[in-house]
């Protein structure tokens, strides 16, 4: 069942990504002031949306664990955070490439970029902490708490664009109070968000399967050592 779901999600994500790549690189015209580099936004923004969404979903999964004490929710939270971490790294790297071309620098110590980096460091700590705890329920509890604390920080990141004077471009999309993009240019962005979310779901399922196999191997190893 899970394998079938992974295949379906991967095929959907792959097809959608291929179609999006075609639209982004061949159909959408260059942006008036930025030229071709603006296309990186089609990857930067969906990766950011995906990572944010997943960090929050992982937090809720942690909350459900705290409520039900079912380790499957902790495994899901860990898998989601791992994949979200990869997407967050993509956001940061694509942002840096864009900054190098448009601002002339790889890194600007702007509050939003800095907060995003802080967020990455926090989740790095999250993975380190998970490795440092052996007892599964204790690990799940601490992970859930850390996830909640980190999510509060993500809210500060999300709001910081309005709170601080910032070098990061202001909201672009109309739904967030920006001026909006040209009509044909906004749709591929949302399609790519969907593609990234599908890809994320497929990767999370793969990661969860790896985790369950890993714990099975560990229990077999313990069983073998018992004799």
């Amino acid at each position: 069942m899970r394998t079938k779901l992974i295949v379906i999600l991967s095929v959907l994500a792959g097809a959608l990504l291929a179609w999006n790549l075609h639209t982004i690189f061949l159909r959408v015209p260059d942006e008036a002031s930025q030229g071709a580099i603006f296309r990186i936004f089609y990857f930067h923004f969906p990766a950011a949306v995906t990572s944010f969404t997943c960090f929050f979903v992982a937090m809720f999964s942690g909350l459900v664990y705290l409520n039900k004490r079912d380790l499957r929710f902790d495994a899901a939270a860990a898998a989601i955070n791992e994949v979200a971490f990869a997407f967050a790294t993509i956001t940061l790297i694509t942002g840096m490439i864009w900054g190098r071309i448009i601002w002339g620098i790889w890194w600007a110590w702007d509050p939003r970029i800095t907060s995003y980096f802080i967020c990455l460091l926090m989740y790095f700590g999250y993975f380190m902490m998970r490795r440092a705890v052996d007892e599964p329920h204790r690990r799940a509890r601490l992970s859930a708490v850390l996830s909640i604390l980190a999510s509060v920080d993500i809210v500060i990141v999300w709001k910081s664009i309005e709170w601080f004077r910032t070098q990061h471009p202001g909201p672009v999309l109309e739904i967030r109070g920006g001026g909006g993009m040209a009509p044909g240019m906004e749709a591929p962005l949302f399609w790519n968000c969907l593609a990234f979310l599908l890809l994320e779901s497929a990767l999370v399922l793969v990661r969860m399967r790896q985790q369950s196999i890993q714990s099975e191997i560990e229990s077999l190893r313990r069983y073998a050592h018992a004799f």
Binding site: P111, G125, M128, A132, V133, R141, V145, V152, D153
Partner: protein
């Protein structure tokens, strides 16, 4: 009322044991002085530019010295299974946490008050009328550091590599509070007036303190007991 009384009892216990042993306060003060000394090698301590970054230096010293205190906070209860005894006592996790946070806050405040005169002399700082406001920033910032730090001290107390895990987890979390405190302190040390656009840093500090105190009180039972 009962809640506060029991939290204060925990705080008094921690402070009493600290006054008798002085282990955290001595280590943390010595560490603060060493860092202040080391900074003087990194740049010319008498130049005017230093005054602009002095607030930042000071808070880095506080944050580094603070971790030493925070690391000991729960770790000192591990000997003779004192932590288990505390958890088994009628004191709730939130009370235990609040008591320990208060004790850490006071100890760190003492270390800060002792480092500031040294810092003033070393870096030739002229305090104008800003010292009162600086103390407000110090109290807000220090509470932010201790509340987050004490929660993480509770989280990491039973972990392998506890001494490594605490700074790694706690510094990224502290950053919003540190950012606000550094920004305000730098202005105050430089003797500049706090304009209306800097009020946001005060709000950030207060919001950080309130949000994380509430979260910590709500979550600490889960961390300690399960």
């Amino acid at each position: 009322m009962n809640f506060l009384r029991q939290a204060l009892a925990v705080a008094a216990k921690d402070l009493r044991s600290e006054i008798r042993s002085k282990e955290s306060i001595n280590a943390s003060l010595a560490f603060a002085l060493v860092i202040l000394l080391l900074f003087s090698f990194a740049f010319d301590p008498t130049s005017d530019q230093v005054r602009e970054i002095a607030g930042g230096l000071l808070w880095l010293v506080f944050a580094f010295a603070g971790t030493l205190i925070l690391n000991r906070s729960f770790a000192r209860e591990l000997v003779n299974d004192c932590l288990d005894a505390l958890l088994a006592s009628p004191v709730s996790g939130a009370q235990l946490f609040l008591g320990k946070a208060l004790a850490n806050f006071l100890i760190l405040l003492v270390v800060e008050c002792l480092s500031i005169p040294v810092f003033t002399v070393f870096y030739n700082v002229h305090w104008k009328q800003s010292i009162g406001l600086f103390f407000v920033v110090m109290i807000l910032g220090t509470w932010g550091l201790t509340v987050i730090g004490t929660l993480f001290s509770a989280m990491t107390v039973n972990l392998r590599l506890r001494e490594l895990m605490l700074p790694m987890l706690v510094y990224p979390m502290m950053i919003p509070a540190l950012m606000g405190a550094i920004q305000l302190s730098s202005l105050l040390v430089a003797g500049e007036p706090l304009g209306a656009d800097n009020q946001i840093w005060f709000r950030l500090l207060i919001a950080f303190d309130v949000i994380f105190t509430a979260l910590a009180l709500a979550l600490v039972e889960t961390v300690l007991v399960g």
